[in-house]
């Protein structure tokens, strides 16, 4: 019961406990590649362990448990079942589901699956070659195992927040949960690597993904500056992430242009590109010899940036970016959400329309990838709470209608 046949993962079934973006974002990718992802939710909490279920932004005019836009986006293409794991009968059903699944995925706090009786060793008893991928902030071992995390915390502890900012100001950080997206990418990668290994050797395994460690790999050059050259990042003038330290470029930054909150990014990679930019600026200062060479531009970078700012502030960001790009200089307006989603034809295939059983059609994010033989597909919105109980417990696990009805009435599913 996947979106479409003939996809890369159409023989794969995932028993999925993930939620939020860090986990759900991973299994969304697997579903788009054709895996049958069966998301397990708690009927007692009405699936609200996932804090994105039933909260704004809303899909259209709909409101309520099924109308959360973020939830719909992150869970598109998956199936949904309910299991009240406080009940022994639900645990038995979960054992049966695991037995017919290739992988189990979750992003609970560390230890939750063990307490439920479904830690890796338990899962292996059910299916020896199961792939199990857990994803949380600090990982399954170590002194901070019990510490809690979410995107902004993972970003703070890993160094991502610190490395995003301007000198003499607090960290700007990432204005969103970049590491929930990226933790999801690493989780999808981990599931696929483990499945590929199993496909080739028959061997399952457990992957312990600590989101903060994944984040800690994303500033490798700055880390090596400290470990190899003993030059810590915490030093005068740093960080300045609108400048470029590796490679050195100048000018390199984001400058104001005409209009409200309008900005342009410009990156001058070499002296030739500076010559092009200086001629487009066409002012006395820009033609001065002192700016002709990278070394002197770097020496007086503050001054150069001030001069540039006095010029850009009277420019139109779209027109200037186009002029610079046409002349071979990297430049782009800082696009606002509406501009990049509605007005940039280069992104149009990313936004796809899905059908949600209760709230109807809506737009969600697809994948920024084309695959010639096994294209991804996202056509169905997030599943309603327990929407696929009949298919999973009936068709897949063989329960009769009467039994499903009883289990529903007694709050087991």
């Amino acid at each position: 019961m996947t979106d479409q046949t003939s996809q890369a993962l159409n023989k794969i079934r995932i028993c999925d406990f993930t939620g939020q973006l860090a986990g759900a974002g991973a299994t969304k990718i697997l579903a788009a590649f054709g895996a049958e992802v069966i998301r397990v939710e708690d009927p007692v909490q009405r699936g609200k362990w996932d804090i994105l279920r039933g909260v704004p932004p809303w899909v259209g005019d709909a409101r309520g448990l099924e109308a959360g836009g973020a939830f719909n986006n992150h869970n598109a293409g998956k199936l949904g079942v309910t299991l009240n794991l406080r009940d022994a009968r639900a645990k038995e059903l979960l054992r049966e589901l695991v037995a017919v699944s290739d992988a189990v995925t979750e992003n609970f706090a560390a230890g939750v699956m063990d307490r439920l009786g479904f830690g890796y060793e338990d899962l292996r008893q059910i299916r020896e070659d199961i792939v199990y991928v857990s994803n949380n902030g600090f990982g399954a071992t170590g002194p901070y195992t019990a510490f809690k995390s979410w995107g902004p915390i993972a970003q703070a502890v890993s160094g991502l927040t610190y490395t995003s900012g301007l000198p003499d100001l607090p960290p700007a950080g990432w204005g969103y949960s970049f590491m929930d997206h990226t933790g999801g990418y690493y989780m999808a990668t981990a599931v696929l690597m483990a499945l590929l290994h199993r496909r080739r050797t028959g061997e399952g395994q457990w992957v312990d993904l600590a989101c903060i460690e994944a984040a800690g790999t994303l500033n490798g050059v700055a880390t090596l500056e400290a470990t190899v050259n003993q030059r810590p990042m915490r030093r005068q003038g740093m960080p300045n992430s609108n400048r470029s330290q590796s490679p050195r470029m100048a000018p390199h930054g984001i400058w104001p242009t005409k209009g409200h909150d309008n900005w342009i990014a410009i990156a001058v990679r070499d002296d030739q590109e500076w010559k092009v930019l200086s001629e487009i600026i066409g002012e006395t200062w820009s033609g001065e010899d002192r700016w002709a060479h990278l070394e002197t531009r770097l020496d007086d970078e503050d001054e150069l940036e001030d001069l540039l700012r006095t010029w850009t502030v009277n420019q139109n960001r779209q027109e200037l970016a186009q002029e610079l790009v046409d002349a071979g200089v990297p430049a782009a307006p800082v696009l606002k959400p509406q501009e990049r989603i509605e007005s940039d034809p280069r992104t149009s295939e990313l936004w796809v329309t899905v059908d949600h059983t209760e709230v109807g059609q809506s737009k969600v994010e697809g994948l920024p990838v084309r695959m010639s033989e096994t294209p991804w597909s996202v056509t169905r919105g997030a599943a309603c709470l327990g929407e696929h109980n009949q298919y999973v417990f009936g068709e897949l696990l063989g329960l009769g209608n009467a039994e499903i009805e009883t289990l529903t009435e007694e709050g087991v599913i």
Partner: protein, 409 residues
Amino acid sequence: MTATSPTSVLSGYRVIELASERCALAGKLMADMGAEVIVVEPPEGCKTRSWEPFADDVADLENSLHWWHYNTSKKSVALDLETDSGARQFRSLIMTADVVIEAEPLGRLEALALGWEQFGELNSQLIWTSITHHGRDGSDPPATDLTLLAEGGPAWSCGYDDHEIPPVRGGGNQAFHTACHYAVPSILAALMWREDSGKGQLIDVSLLNSSNATTEFATLWWLNGERQVERQTGRHALPTMTEWTQIQCADGRWFNTGVPPRNKREFQALRSWIEELDLTDECSAYEILKLGDQFERIGLLELDEDPLAGEVFQAGRDAIEFLGQHLKAYDLFVGLQQRGMACGIVYSPDEMIVDPHFVERGFPEEVFYESRNATHIHPGAPYRFSKTPWSTIRAPRLGEHQALLEDLA
């Protein structure tokens, strides 16, 4: 392909990567998990070899820390694709490959008759991965990490409450990373499918769309309600301005206060910590915290309907700010987390890697450099596999594995 080793996920797969800062991470992620990744450089070396910083600040093709980080566990061959012999050797190499990863300027390889169009039919099992600005059929504007994050969406959400200050590029070349983060699972899915079908395919990853798919609420609020998020210092960009979540501690370090205390247990924990520190007289929030005993949980409903709930909620935030004025960021981090409250110290990347938790988990990776007779610490594995661990060896010297080409001939 060589025989599959049980100890490494991707062993037996040969990946040819055309050296570029745009796709280097994709190759690294595969190499550190056991694939044989051969990075093809021009005779003068990949341009990133000349990028600062250099080890010991000595400029040298073998000293770039950028090269060191992004090319661990790879092999290097130097080839001039513009010459007949170079092109011939490249063809031989591609015929032995399972996967190609490239981010060349559009049309360059086709003009040399060395692109997917040439190899797709000759090697039907080949998985060819192009990382392009916005698709192989698009244009190829001059672009860097900065301009991609600007037009791709992330920069709009990053910055400060004061909108006179420019939007900020998140550090670390994340536009390139994000495209690689989509490339690798796509390649793995294609390898899975090839196991059954025997067929390769073409994968086309858009740098621009990768960033567009990685902006969380900026996109979600537009797609669902057409509301524009506004950037805010150190916290989520949202359609409305929210309260601070970042404070400066007694040692000057910044701290993310995370999820504010909301329930009786948390208010009690804050109170008793302030008592333990003997700071009750100095803490103006202390008395109000006592009223927190009345609240099992303060949710949006309580904040809306009960003025006292609002006061207690604010006292919880004030108490954390107060503690920050008296404690080092690390002590506040560990102390609050041990009391069940989610929060985080703002580390620099090099501080994170020496934190005792990550050290105990083995995150810092020791990499040996025989020419220096030294071991240097690299960031380690993003995930730990119980059966097939990550492993890292130093990045290759230019043309270090040239002998591979002789084997092909």
